[in-house]
Amino acid sequence: MNNHFDVIIIGGGAAGLTAGIYLSRAKLSTLILNEGTVGGQMVLTHEIANYPGIESISGYQLARNMKAQAQKFGCTIKSNLKITGIELSGDMKQITVNESDVYTSNAVIIATGGKSRTIGVPGEENMKGKGISYCATCDGDFFQDKEIIVVGGGNSALEEAVSLTKYASKVTIVHQFDHFQAFEHYVEEAKLNSKINFIMESKIVEFIGDEKLTGVKIQNIASNEIAKMTIEGVFIFIGYVPNTEKLDGMVELNQWKEIVVDKNMATNIPGVYAAGDSIAKRYRQVTTAVADGTIAALSAADYLNSLKKAFIPVEV
């Protein structure tokens, strides 16, 4: 198999798949290398109701459609792999997969998106699926008539806390600040719900349990006091972090580890573009990821054209 492509796209979410559609349709050989499930965060979304032209669609279905569309135009997609080497400087970019397979290209688009932030305290990894969940729609019904905690203070946390009152007898929102970072209507709805109560300026410092989650230790941030609470379910919605840890030192990142790009989605490295949730921007949506992916693809195509022009032999 030829391992050289015109463009390699790192990440196969909305941004990467869109770039794949545009580039393959322009007859540029394109490879998408994706570490997880193709579709990225779209797959985490039960219903997308704000994608223009489609009244309502599951995130999974939208991702499948985008993947099929990219493949129809000839885009190669490899998923569930591990990227073990990235070389972006110079004209020939090189990406190593699973320690052994080396792919080269003249341009690269980084579309690695973001992932759910975890709390990162003892017991969290162990209790995943045994009381700790990151998806209310998936696991809410395990907590019928039980008391649960929702961690977070943004839109997702408040919206999901309200939706979990369908099952739980009581929902306690634990949030680290004394105010919420959510739209006012989400805050109002949560405050008006008699099943919801709040523990503010506090954080979970330990999950307790052996076979199953049985409780948590909660620390008051102002007083440092730690209290134990008996609980069987904790849902965590504390935002997202960009997937850029493998790019640190290779392309310019800002203080939040987001990739810095110009209006053409170009990074500080020639021939390297970035798109979607991994770049520095304010609004993270499927529509904005798709727009970024389009711009990055067209800019990469322009860059490849400029390389070709530079190589036209000059007649003497």
């Binding site: 997880g36 499930t37 039960h46 995943k128 045994k130 696991d139 989650l213």
Partner: protein, 114 residues
């Protein structure tokens, strides 16, 4: 029926049959949601690599899925999917919630080899 390319276990009878006919079996019991879809995709990806393992799914909400939901190995589970690995009809491992390809291959290698 789940929208995957895996073998579907639709009933208790299917479940017994698949265990009788195959030495190594991995069944992912879930829904078409964000915690389950990545596991189905990992299984689809590994199917050609692990020819000695039968990969299958089962709908969590079908009444017959009690054959998985009620397993003692799944008693503490509170997150879908419930994934159960069987050798010669016996449960050798069970996991709850989303798993990465590395986590799945570690279990397959430890229990079934390639």
């Amino acid at each position: 029926m789940l929208h995957t390319n895996l073998t579907h276990v639709l009933s208790e009878q299917d479940h017994s049959k698949i265990l009788q006919e195959n030495e190594n079996v991995m069944i992912c019991c879930g829904r078409m949601g964000p915690m389950c879809i990545p596991v189905y995709e990992v299984m689809e990806e590994l199917e050609s690599e692990y020819k000695n393992v039968k990969f299958a799914d089962m709908e969590f909400d079908t009444p017959d899925a009690k054959v998985i939901r009620n397993l003692p190995e799944c008693r503490s589970f509170q997150g879908i999917p419930f994934v159960v690995y069987y050798k010669n009809g016996q449960v050798v491992k069970a996991t709850s919630s989303i798993q990465s390809i590395e986590q799945v291959t570690t279990i397959l290698d430890q229990n079934f080899g390639k």
